[in-house]
Amino acid sequence: MKVSVRFFARCREIVGEERKEIEIEDGRDMLLEDIITHLINEYPDLKREKLLISRNHKYAKPEERLEDMDEIAIFPPVSGG
C-alpha cells in the first residue's frame, strides 16, 4: 500500500520537499500517528512545531487507520483571512 504525504509552510521548509510517497508493507495495520512518528524521527525539527494533520482533505485524528492511496498533509496552525 502507498500513501502520499504533503507538507506546507514551515513543515515544507523543514522537510525540504512538498510531497513524499511512502510505501507500507501490505497487510500491516498503520495508523496516522505511526506516519507522524516516522516523520518526526526523520526530521526532528518537526517536533518543535505544533502540527495539524489532514487525511484526504479533512482534518484527521492520529488514531485513524491509513488506507491505500490516502493523501496525508502535515502543516503548522493555519492563518487564513
Partner: protein, 131 residues
C-alpha cells in the same frame, strides 16, 4: 469549484456582488481582510493547500447555511504575493434581513481563520538606497 475561490490577482467586490444578487436579497454584508502595512512590512505571501481549501470551503458554507437564514455566500481568497492594501480574503453573505447576514459573515470569517489551510508570511522591506 476551486477556480472560483482562489485568485492570483486583486479582485472586484462589485463583481462578486453582481454574482450573488437575486431578488430575495435585501442585505449584503461583506468582510474584506486587507494587507496591513507598517514601516517594516512591504507585503504578504499567502500559501494555500488548494484541494483541501476547496473542500473545507464547501463545508464552511454548508455549516453557515444550516445555522443562518441566508440566500447566498461567496468567498474568495488570494494566494501568492500581495501588496499592502490588497484584499487577502473577501466573504460576501446575502440574506433577506441584515442581522442574519452580519451573524453569518462573522461566523464564516471566524471559522475560516481557524480551519482554512492557508498560511501567511510577511515580506519585509529591504529598501535599497538609490540616490
Amino acid at each position: 469549484m476551486t477556480t472560483n475561490t482562489m485568485a492570483t490577482e486583486d479582485f472586484s467586490i462589485d463583481e462578486l456582488v453582481r454574482k450573488i444578487k437575486k431578488p430575495e436579497i435585501g442585505a449584503i454584508v461583506t468582510f474584506s481582510g486587507v494587507v496591513r502595512g507598517d514601516d517594516s512590512v512591504k507585503g504578504l505571501n499567502v500559501e494555500i493547500y488548494g484541494e483541501m481549501w476547496a473542500e473545507e470551503l464547501e463545508r464552511l458554507k454548508s455549516a453557515a447555511r444550516e445555522r443562518f437564514e441566508i440566500e447566498a455566500v461567496e468567498i474568495v481568497h488570494r494566494e501568492g504575493s500581495l501588496n499592502v492594501g490588497e484584499n487577502i480574503v473577501v466573504i460576501l453573505v446575502g440574506a433577506r434581513h441584515r442581522k442574519e447576514a452580519f451573524r453569518a459573515c462573522e461566523y464564516l470569517i471566524d471559522l475560516l481563520k481557524e480551519r482554512a489551510p492557508i498560511w501567511k508570511r510577511m515580506s519585509e522591506t529591504k529598501t535599497e538606497m538609490t540616490t
